[in-house]
Every structure is written in structure tokens, then in C-alpha cells.
Point group: C2
């Protein structure tokens, strides 16, 4: 390829990068090139300091009074609005609580409550599996409901829509391939068939510009520990459009979703706003770290983020295909940058040991069964020079064949 | 009352207290007497150091590798076994995850899956409300199910049992009155009627000796942020007896409950053990603090804990009724120490401002609507002298009438 940039040219791009200053807001281990921000984002310094404040002052010294004085009870909606600003949702439509899986259960239940005459849930078989497992669990307890996966393709959803479809659950960016769906166009098609849509934003929130309100989306869910850097297992979020709030119901009706939680009434009376999606007491320490992580996002230009993300992923594809040719890597992500999230996946027959050898050299991506090497690109802390260096290390791993050493083949409990 | 002990006698009791050394393992603000460990336990020093290790090393430096190297993925079952040891459950029957509310939903669903021909859930109207709200939410999505609250009294549960009752949800210690139910006797009565039982241990775990296995309990749930001191909103636990594991199902079937979560299969195949109650990714920072908090429990003698708890609550009742007589306080907790948890409640027509005035004087209890002053007694850090001093301060608040000052009447968002 004659159009490959030189390292000098890349350094020039990095020198003029408007997002470059964000790198200093993260703790990044010396010498590591981290392509796993789409699995676990690194620690923002502000997240660590907020966590320490929460632990050492609010819990240790102020104790029970912090529910008021530190606004602990308001964190789910306060952080919801902050995430809302990142995903194109006006205030009052996002709640942060529980896990993505639990929130999918709530959103599916809510959608079904709004479409009582319909009995089909559509989801792509290529979805992140927990989405499917939750839908399967819900369907198993509701006679008359059907879950359809086979043949469902988000990009051609209209082929599967009929007047029994109540709700469609779509992954905005596919966790394995990195494909990005057209939210506004698909939402319109789903609405035209009288159905509702739930967007799973786990691999797009904080990675690509999102306009939930602009797309007239109904529901969305996502996690906060990938591109939003909230910390391992940080609570997830749920978006529900205001127009649906009054009418919908969901069965995980714990006391935090009550209109008057501290009146301790015996009967449930749902809050009329987004708080009706809250359930039980939330893990405050994890929420406080997330609060710190979200602070930087007010200063992030999402158009600049998207432009840099596309520049990094384009570069990675071009460099890998040039430098690592002949080693059996096959691109699994689209070459069309407008249909790509902020990740690039390559398949390789021995993807697991290759990734282990890379990790040993401090280039961190991850393996996804059965044969995928997955690389996430976070424009807030990765540079073009990082990409260059990582590809050089990948080339050395492949050229040397070191990944064939038996120690790289041993599977960990969590792969 | 002629049998009131003197302060000297109380100091002597404290000097021979076998649990006294635990106080130094907590961070307790200078001058505070904390009777709210049944709402938010104070910070164990080990919890703070584990949290710091999790944030500064595991997240910040080791990043994604900590899922393996720090055993993050195993925390729900590892901590489950630790809590199991505190509540009389052999290994492999307790999982730590999500909130108490969510776990009640799972346990109710599981119990119903084991009693398919039965359609009634029994719960006491005096339960902590979220238990009722969750049962109500579940019933609303399952035609043919009934939730009965009115007239249900745990202590006389046999009067409500019939062959349509699938499951009984009971609060082991009542959150408001502090009454303690007889787990073994009531479980036997419920089983005799062919039903299953779920014990809510929120106000008893870590406060009284519990033998779930010994009582042949079916299910239990509870939180870890009260007497277990896991930190604000720390994840909750769920117990399911091994004999039920193979047969039961529950609909919150997220990927952490899959037999092979990292195989990324499209169909759910439930883990055959307690892990089938896991759902989505858990808040690791909060779990790591909890891990630190649980470390001390290996050294706690539960019989000594119970004896001291009864000594403290007996003393509090005797002192309040003697020193604060004539001020309208009415004991709401039983005088029978064997039917009492580790808390004492008094009603007062102006309970809210009285508690606010006490809190201003660094005696921390809490108010429960509409008229209850609630005091929790944690034997690991409270002394008999603390109880004496707190009652003296309560007496001053009541004698002086300072609680009538308008500033104590203003309600906080969270009361």
C-alpha cells in the first residue's frame, strides 16, 4: 500500500490532536498500549479521587448522613443526566443503576407493557449473549411470548417485522465485529411496523456520537465501565423516552422506584418519571467512582472524538494488513468507517495464544471466542504513534512465532 | 427501678468484654455514638485498604487482567461462602450480587418454579416495603398469582397456610419493631403445608446467630451494608439450599449465571449451582470493600455477639424507661430478649425532631415513619458505657425541650 503514513506523519497528527490533553487525566501504566477500553476503561484520576472522598470522608466520617449531605440517594438520576448528555438524551430520561442485564429485563418488560396485544421479541443472534439470555428468561415466564433470533439482521430488520412484533432489541455496535447500525433509520422502520426498539449501547456510549432523542428511540441500555471509564462493573444505565413514562410498567418495582420511598407504604405506587426504573439500594462506592469518571465528558467534543476514532481505526487496519500480511489475519470489521464503531477485530485460527503473547508485550486487547482478536480504540488516551507501535509489536509476535510457545495456550478462567 | 446498674458496673462489664478489641478495627468518628449500624455499618479499616488496593493497583495498574489475577469474577461466590459461614450455610449456597430487591425477585421466581401448581405468595404487611413491592411487581406480570399481605403474621403463619400457598416471604427481624422470628419452627410449619420459605435477613445477618441449613430453610436474601459493614449499598446476598438447585429456574438469566459465560453461546444454559442466581457484571469496587469488611468475621464468636447484643439492648430499654420517663416514649420492641433482634425502637409523637436533636449531639440513630426512633446495637464496636452516655444525652434533649426548635423539624430528602 503506497498511502501508508510514516511515523513522522503520525507524530505530526498527534501533535495537533485536540483531544491529546485528555491522556493526562487517566492513570495509564508505564509502557502499556491499552486497546481494551471497550472491555474495561482505565482509571480517570478524578474517579480515584472521588472514590477516596466517598470512602474516607462520606462513608467513614459522615456515615448515614451522607445519604443527604453527599446526595447519595440522588446519584442514579444525577449520573443519568450526565450520561444522557453524552448519548443525546435530554434530562430526566436516563437512570444509572444495576447491571446492563437487569436493565434489559426492565426495558423489555416496559416495552411489552406498552404493546399488550403483541407477542414477539426480535433480537439478533449475533447480539452480546446476555441480551439474548435475558430475553429468553423473560419469555420463559410469560406464556404466549416468542423470542426470535435466527435470521434476524439489524441492518435488514424490516424483513422480520410483522404486526406481532412488540419490541426489537438491537446492539448499536456489535461487540464482536464492531459494526455500527443506523439508529435513526432503523428506529423509524421499527416504529412504522408499530413496534418499539431497545438500543444496547454498551459498545457505543462514549465511543461514537449518539442522538437518542433525535432518533426517536424508545429505550436504551448500556454499561458505564467501557468507554465511559466508570470502573470495573460500574452500574449500568437505562434510557426511556419521556413520552412512554406515564403508561409503562416494569416488574422490578423496588422501593427506590416508589413515588414516596421513605413513606414506607405497603403498596407500590410507581414514581411517574424515569425513577420508576430504579429498584433497590445501589452500590454507592462504585457510583461515586463513576461520577468522577464522567466529569471530563462535559469537555469532550464528540465530533472530534469520532474523527479521531475513525482515523485510529483506519490506520490500524491499514498497518496490520500491510505489516502483518501472510500470517492468517482476516479483518472482521467493515472497511466502511461510517459503519464501524471504535473497534477493529481480526480473526486468526490461533487468536487466543496470539493475544496472550501480545499482552505479555504490554499491548492489551482481548480475545473473543472462538477466533477473534479484538482491539478497542479510545481517542481520549490513544495516539496514532501508539497504533504504529502496537502493530510493530504484533508483527514481531507473528514473525517470530513466539505465540506458539505452550505457555500462551493455557486458558484463564475468564478469557 | 432498683436493679439499674451503675456506670462503674458497666465499665467493669466493658473491661471484660471479649468483643471489645473489634472496636479498633473500625473507623469511628471521634465523639460519635453510632446506633445506625442497622442502616449503614461504619467502615472497617480492612474494607478501606482493600478498596484502595482494588482501585489503585487492580483497576489502575493491572486493568483487565484483574478479572483473573485478582479473582474479580469469582468474588460473588467467594464472598457468598464467607457470608454463608456467618448465616449457617455450608459452601456453595450463597451468591453475592445485585440488590436485596432484585434478589427477592429471583428467590420468589425460583420458589414459584418449584411449586408450579400453587398460586399464592404470603408476606407480612409489616415487612420492609421493598419486599412487598417486588412481590407485587412479580404478581402483576403473572396471571393467576395472588399476593396476600393483610392479616399475615409471621409468628402465626400457620393460620394463613393452605394448599395454594407456594411461598412465604418473612422478615427474620422486623426493620421497625426489631421482633425476631423463630426460623426453624416457622420453616417447619411452612414445609408441613407444602410451601417454601424465603427469609429476609437484612436486619439479622451479622446481628444474631442464624442457622439456615439447620433450619432447613429454602431461600434467604439480605444486604451486606448493615451489620456486615460492607459499605453504602454494597451488593446483597441470596441463599438457596443445594437440594433445590437442579430443579429451580429464575428469569434474570444473565451471562454470569450461564454454565459457560465466556463461550458466548446464543442460548442460555443455566449453571447448575448457586451461580444460576447471578445475572450481570457486578460492581467490583463495592465488592472489594465488602471483601475487606467480611475478613473480621472469621474471628467473631456469634454466641458472644448475641449475649452482648442482648445485654446492650436490655440496658438501653431499662435506662431509657428510667431516665426518660414522662416524655412520651413508648417501647415498640419486645421486652423478651429472645424474641428481639439487635435493635430497640421507641415511638414518640415527635420522633423526627427528637432524632434530629440527638443526631446534632452526635448520637446517631434513625427515624422511621411515622413516629419511630430506631436504635441499632452493634456489639463489635458499641460498649455499655456508650449506651449509658447516649441515654444521658437523650434525657438532656427531652428534659431541655431543645428538639422543639424549628430547625429540627425540617425534613431531609432522605429521612
Amino acid at each position: 500500500m503506497t498511502d501508508l503514513p510514516t511515523l513522522d506523519a503520525l507524530r505530526h497528527r498527534d501533535a495537533t490532536d485536540v483531544l491529546a490533553a485528555f491522556r493526562s487525566e487517566f492513570v495509564l501504566p508505564e509502557g502499556m498500549i491499552y486497546f481494551d477500553g471497550n472491555s474495561l476503561g482505565p482509571a480517570p484520576k478524578e474517579a480515584l479521587s472521588e472514590l477516596e472522598q466517598a470512602a474516607r470522608q462520606e462513608w467513614s466520617q459522615d456515615l448515614i448522613r451522607s445519604w443527604n449531605s453527599a446526595n447519595w440517594f440522588q446519584l442514579p438520576l444525577e449520573l443519568g443526566d450526565r450520561i444522557g448528555a453524552i448519548i443525546g438524551a435530554a434530562a430526566g430520561q436516563v437512570a444509572v443503576s444495576d447491571s446492563t442485564s437487569i436493565n434489559i429485563f426492565k426495558a423489555l418488560s416496559a416495552a411489552l407493557s406498552l404493546r399488550p396485544g403483541r407477542g414477539t421479541i426480535l433480537a439478533e443472534a449475533s447480539s452480546f449473549p446476555t441480551d439474548l439470555y435475558i430475553a429468553e428468561g423473560l419469555v420463559a415466564t410469560r406464556p404466549g411470548l416468542t423470542l426470535r433470533l435466527e435470521g434476524v439482521d439489524g441492518a435488514r430488520i424490516e424483513e422480520m417485522l410483522d404486526d406481532d412484533v412488540a419490541v426489537v432489541l438491537l446492539n448499536h455496535v456489535n461487540y464482536r465485529s464492531g459494526s455500527l447500525l443506523d439508529m435513526a433509520a432503523l428506529t423509524a422502520k421499527i416504529h412504522a411496523a408499530g413496534a418499539l426498539v431497545i438500543w444496547d449501547l454498551c459498545h457505543s456510549a462514549g465511543a461514537v456520537p449518539i442522538e437518542l432523542d433525535g432518533a426517536h428511540a424508545d429505550f436504551a441500555v448500556g454499561c458505564s465501565y467501557k468507554y465511559l471509564n466508570g470502573g470495573p462493573g460500574a452500574p449500568a444505565f437505562l434510557y426511556a423516552a419521556t413520552r412512554h413514562h406515564a403508561e409503562l410498567s416494569q416488574p422490578l418495582s423496588g422501593w427506590w422506584g416508589h413515588a414516596r420511598p421513605f413513606a414506607f407504604e405497603t403498596r407500590y405506587d410507581a414514581h411517574q418519571g424515569i425513577a420508576k426504573f430504579l429498584c433497590g439500594t445501589q452500590p454507592i462506592l462504585s457510583l461515586r467512582a463513576l461520577k468522577g469518571a464522567l466529569a471530563m465528558w462535559e469537555r469532550v467534543d464528540m465530533a472530534a472524538l469520532r474523527a479521531k476514532s475513525q482515523s485510529l481505526t483506519d490506520l490500524f487496519i491499514a498497518l496490520v494488513e500491510n505489516r502483518c500480511a501472510g500470517h492468517g489475519l482476516v479483518l472482521q470489521t467493515t472497511r466502511d468507517r461510517d459503519l464501524r464503531g471504535s473497534q477493529v477485530s481480526f480473526s486468526h485460527p490461533e487468536a487466543y495464544p496470539v493475544m496472550q503473547a501480545l499482552i505479555e508485550r504490554n499491548v492489551i486487547g482481548d480475545f473473543r471466542a472462538p477466533d477473534v482478536l479484538r482491539f478497542g480504540f479510545t481517542p481520549l488516551y490513544l495516539s496514532h504513534e501508539d497504533v504504529w507501535n502496537a502493530v510493530e509489536i504484533l508483527r514481531e509476535v507473528l514473525d517470530s512465532g513466539i505465540w506458539r510457545e505452550p505457555r500462551f495456550a493455557a486458558r484463564s478462567a475468564v478469557t
